[in-house]
């Protein structure tokens, strides 16, 4: 039996601009996230995906519709209780590092939630081990790379034993190495603990790892489905400013140059296999 973790039910939201004119940043969005799923929400900058994140964590409340988290309508009243069951990782690695050392930062949410000292020590150690940062307990933030800081942020979220991990562009400011580190950690968590993950990103390679993708464009939900279903609509994705995964790009170029290829190729492995069966195996 599937258990719903988060859902958006006909949610709309507008920012009040200076001239008083309102533009809809989020326009009638509905979708649900089940326990254990990894959902990627993709869209180019300005597609409304960041606003969506703010609505999920109660930094904003919808003008219309409902945001339900853990089967409760998110409201001022239950905000703190709900947040204590979620973990967050934001975009800028520096601006979310509160503690003066790695372990202090991981403990921050625990302190806020009144976890007793002895529990804190074990949880901090466990969480740092989960993100492969065990040797960095006493490091200060300015001696860490961006990828390391983001892993500390994930550890800080994990320490609370969350039922949902929300990442808002968590890899977009990292170098390729940092980005790989963070993605590897999340993948590992997912397979080992079955954690529910919502990842907001503009990186389709990253989205490829998700169970399901929600595509946003101009505040509207363009489409949702498994990576295979989504990437079957490559042209539409390109049209709204997203970059196709590398293998797909090559496969499209090949077809453009008149080569016969069957099916879509999302990964390099699929592409190589496709090439082999259609052209080289004779």
């Amino acid at each position: 039996m599937m258990k719903e973790v988060l859902s958006m039910d006909h949610v709309s939201f507008s920012y009040q601009s200076e001239e008083g004119v309102t533009e809809k940043a989020i326009d009638d969005i509905s979708f649900a996230v089940q326990q254990g799923e990894w959902i990627a929400i993709v869209g180019h900058n300005g597609s409304g995906k960041s606003t969506l994140a703010k609505l999920m964590i109660g930094l904003l409340f919808p003008d219309e519709g409902e945001v339900n988290v853990f089967i409760q309508k998110l409201s001022e009243a239950n905000l703190w209780a709900i947040r204590s069951r979620m973990g967050f990782v934001f975009q800028n690695p520096d601006n979310q590092f509160v503690g003066s050392t790695v372990q202090d930062d991981v403990a921050f949410a625990l302190e806020n939630n009144g976890v007793p000292f002895t529990d804190m020590v074990t949880r901090v150690h466990e969480s740092l081990a989960q993100v492969n940062m065990s040797n960095f307990h006493d490091h200060e933030p300015h001696h860490l790379s961006g990828g390391q800081k983001q892993r500390v942020a994930i550890a800080g979220a994990l320490a609370l034993k969350p039922e949902l991990l929300l990442m808002d562009e968590a890899t977009s400011m990292l170098d390729p190495q940092g980005r790989d580190e963070v993605i590897r950690v999340v993948e590992e968590l997912k397979t080992k603990t079955g954690l529910t993950v919502i990842s907001i990103t503009h990186d389709l390679e990253e989205a490829l790892l998700a169970d399901r993708i929600v595509v946003m464009n101009k505040g509207k939900l363009l489409t949702t489905g498994t990576p295979t279903q989504i990437f079957a609509r490559g042209d539409e994705l390109e049209a709204i400013g997203l970059d196709l995964p590398f293998a797909m790009k090559v496969s499209r170029l090949l077809r453009e140059s008149g080569m016969e290829l069957f099916g879509e190729h999302m990964t390099e492995e699929e592409l190589v296999n496709g090439l082999w069966t259609s052209h080289f195996s004779k």
Binding site: F90, D94, S100, D104, F108, M120, H142
Partner: protein, 265 residues
């Protein structure tokens, strides 16, 4: 120049002094500052200096490094010394050379005041050199706890301080980056009239403020969603632990005070 300054810097280590609890170090330095004013003759000043050297020795900070780092302050001490020598006109004249007259009392006072200044600077430097800023904050928060009763926002002050400390290196980097970016656009801060120089700082300050506010906003959001709601009901991860060595340190200070009281003139 600034790189060589050690005032306010922390050098990690594992010496006896490093390992002391910040609370004992803070109270130690606070009481020492008061005790310094008990000294009023050669013997007591001698004891003070000896005691200070003992503390430096047990902190394993190199004297050479201390002196080198405190150069600007030593200059100030020398200046104080000279002021006393030339402007105190009491006691017997010990030097009388052309227009220079040095009185016995002036020399005495000059030496004593400089020594007082020196031990104070050395002792506070040892405190900051052997205690990380965050430990000092922890110690202060703990020591000030009783004042909560008088509505002093102790927790908030300590958090403010620890976040500022955490962001100092970040903002320093940021300043350097913006400075370099503006220099690359031909900005010039080191030449021109004062008016020009002040104007040249604007391209540095505006981006720095914009970024600091952005950081503050992000940080506030991150803290809020991570469940920060003020000091109420919060537990603490950083625990301070009082050891036998802290008792020993304060006992030693007690001995010092006793000696000063007994031997002062």
């Amino acid at each position: 120049m600034l790189e060589k300054m050690i005032f306010g810097r922390y050098i990690p280590g594992t010496s006896f002094v490093h390992k002391l609890d910040p609370r004992s170090k803070l109270s130690f330095v606070f009481l020492f500052i008061i005790a310094v004013f008990l000294a009023n003759n050669a013997v007591t000043y001698g004891i003070l200096l000896g005691f200070t050297l003992l503390v430096i020795f047990s902190s394993r900070i190199r004297i050479y490094f201390l002196i080198n780092g405190l150069k600007p302050i030593i200059f100030l001490i020398a200046f104080t010394f000279l002021m006393h020598i030339f402007f105190t006109k009491e006691g017997a004249i010990i030097v009388d050379w052309k227009f220079i007259k040095i009185y016995e009392e002036g020399l005495r006072q000059g030496i004593f005041i400089s020594l007082r200044f020196l031990v104070l600077v050395l002792m506070t430097s040892i405190l900051t050199l052997t205690t990380s800023p965050i430990s000092i904050t922890d110690g202060m928060e703990d020591l000030l706890n009783p004042f909560k009763r008088f509505k002093l926002p102790v927790h908030e002050l300590a958090l403010m301080m620890s976040i500022s400390l955490r962001f100092i290196p970040t903002l320093m980097d940021e300043t350097d980056k913006i400075l370099k970016a503006q220099l690359a656009r031909g900005s010039d801060i080191s030449t021109g009239s004062i008016k020009q120089r002040i104007r040249a700082v604007i391209p540095l300050l505006v981006p720095l403020f914009v970024s600091a506010f952005k950081r503050a906003e992000d940080l506030a959001i991150a803290m809020e969603v991570r469940g920060y709601r003020g000091g109420e009901g919060r537990t603490r991860y950083r625990q301070l632990k009082w050891h036998w060595r802290d008792t020993v340190a304060l006992a030693l200070l007690g001995v010092l005070v006793a000696a000063l009281v007994l031997l002062r003139g």
